[in-house]
C-alpha cells in the first residue's frame, strides 16, 4: 500500500488514495462481469457495481457528495448494456432515498443496512428492467430478474465485507 514516496510512520494516507479507492472499486465491480468469459443465457449475476456502491454509501455516509451516482451510474450503464442513463438516474435516486432515511433515523445497524440495500437493489433492478424493456408486463419482468434480485440480496453482506476490507486499505497507516 506504499505510494511512490516513502511514507513516514503515522502519516495520514494520501488524498488520492482516500478518494480513488471507493470510486475505482465501484467502477471495477461494474465492469467485472464484462471481463469474465461467460455468455449468460439470462440475467443471473447480481449487479456487483450497484451492491458495492450501496455498501460504501451505507458504511460511510459522508464519503461522497449526493451526486456521485451520476458519474458512477453512467460508467455502469456503459459497460452493463442497460440503456444509458438508467443507472445514472436510479442510483442517484437511491442515494437521495438513503439520505432521507439517514435524516429521519437516529441510528442504523447491520440489519437495517441490509434491509435498505435489499429494498434499493430490488427497486433499481426492476426499474432498470422496465426501462430496458418498455411495454413489457410486470409479471414477465419479475420472471426475468426475480432470481437476480434474490441473489443480490443474499450477496450484499459479502459486498459489505469487501467494502470494509477496501476501507482498511484506504485508511492504512504505517
Amino acid at each position: 500500500m506504499s505510494s511512490l514516496a516513502p511514507q513516514r510512520i503515522g502519516e495520514p494516507p494520501s488524498q488520492l488514495r482516500l478518494q480513488s479507492v471507493p470510486i475505482m472499486s465501484v467502477m471495477l465491480a461494474s465492469a467485472l462481469p464484462m471481463m469474465l468469459p461467460m455468455i449468460a443465457a439470462w440475467a443471473w449475476l447480481p449487479p456487483l457495481g450497484l451492491l458495492l456502491f450501496l455498501a460504501w454509501r451505507l458504511l460511510h455516509p459522508s464519503l461522497w457528495p449526493v451526486w456521485i451516482g451520476l458519474p458512477l451510474g453512467l460508467w455502469d450503464d456503459l459497460v452493463s448494456g442497460q440503456p444509458v442513463g438508467a443507472a445514472m438516474g436510479l442510483w442517484t435516486i437511491a442515494l437521495l432515498g438513503i439520505d432521507f432515511i439517514d435524516q429521519r433515523t437516529y441510528w442504523r445497524g447491520y440489519w437495517q443496512d441490509w434491509m435498505i440495500a435489499a429494498v434499493a437493489t430490488s427497486i433499481i433492478i426492476v426499474a432498470g428492467a422496465v426501462l430496458a424493456h418498455p411495454g413489457t408486463g410486470l409479471s414477465l419482468i419479475l420472471g426475468l430478474v426475480g432470481l437476480q434480485i434474490a441473489a443480490s440480496i443474499l450477496l450484499f453482506p459479502m459486498m459489505v465485507r469487501v467494502a470494509a476490507w477496501l476501507d482498511r486499505v484506504r485508511l492504512f497507516r504505517r
Partner: protein
Amino acid sequence: MRPGQSRKAQIRLFIAYVVAVVGAVVGLLLAIISVADPVGFAALRTAAQEVVSPVARLTRSVTGTASGINDSIAAYFAAGSQNRRLRAQVEEQQRDLVEASTLAEENRQLRLLLKLDEQGSGGIANGYLLTSNPTSSRRLAILSIGRNRGVQAGMPIRAADGLIGRVLDAGPTTARVLLLTDSDNIVPLRRASDGLPALASGRGNGELDIRTLNLADNPFKPGDILVTSGTGGIYRPNIPVALVVRLQNDGAVARPLADPAKVDIVAVLPAYAAVSGASEIAP
C-alpha cells in the same frame, strides 16, 4: 448529513442536492431516449467496451468459456425425464435422417440440373463471443472482431448449429451482438418441414416465443425445427434457428439450436437483402 452553521457548507450541500435531482431526472430521460434510439450513445458505449474487452480476451484465453458449469448442474435435476425424451427423439430422428439423406441427394441432383450455387454461403469473418452482460436483463454479447474485419451493424451471426443473433453496433475491434434470446430481437421464421411462417421473439431467459399468423389452432408440436425464412431481409433463408420444446396458449416455446454459451467460433454473415417479392411468397 447536517452541514452545521457554516453558510458555505449549507450552500454547497444544497447545490449538491440540486445537481443530484436534476441529474437523476436527466438520466432517466436519457434512458428513455436511448431505448427509443439505441444508436445515439453507441460511440460512448463502444469506447467503454474497447477498454474492457482486452481483459475479457485474456480471461477467455486462459479459461475458455466457463458457462458449461451451470448446465452440468442443471442436467442432474432433469436426468430421468430427459433420458426418456431423448430416447424417443433419437428414434424419431433416425427415421427423419434416412428421409433427409434421400432428399439431400435429390436436392444435389436438382441443383446440378439448375446449375445453382449454394447462394452466398460464405461468411464475412469468423470470431468468437468474448463475454456477455449477466447483470442486465438485455441479452447482449461482445464479439471478438469489429470493423477491422469488416463487421457492420445489422449483420447476422451464426454458429455451426444455428443462428446466434445479429450485430447491434460495431466498434474498431469489438462488436455488440443482440442475441436471439433478447426480447427485442424478432426473427421471421418458417417451419422446416412444411414452410409454415412464424415469428420468434426472445423471452430473455434463454428461450424463444414462437407465434404464427394462423390464430385458429395451434399448429406446432414439440420437436418442430424452425429455420429463418429470409422475409424482411437481414437473415438469409434456411439458417437453423430453434427447436420447439413445448406449446403455450398462442404458439409455442422453443429453444435455440445454437447455445451462445457453448459455441466456440461464430461466423459473421453479410446482411441478406431480400429480392423484392421473391422471398415473400409463402410456400
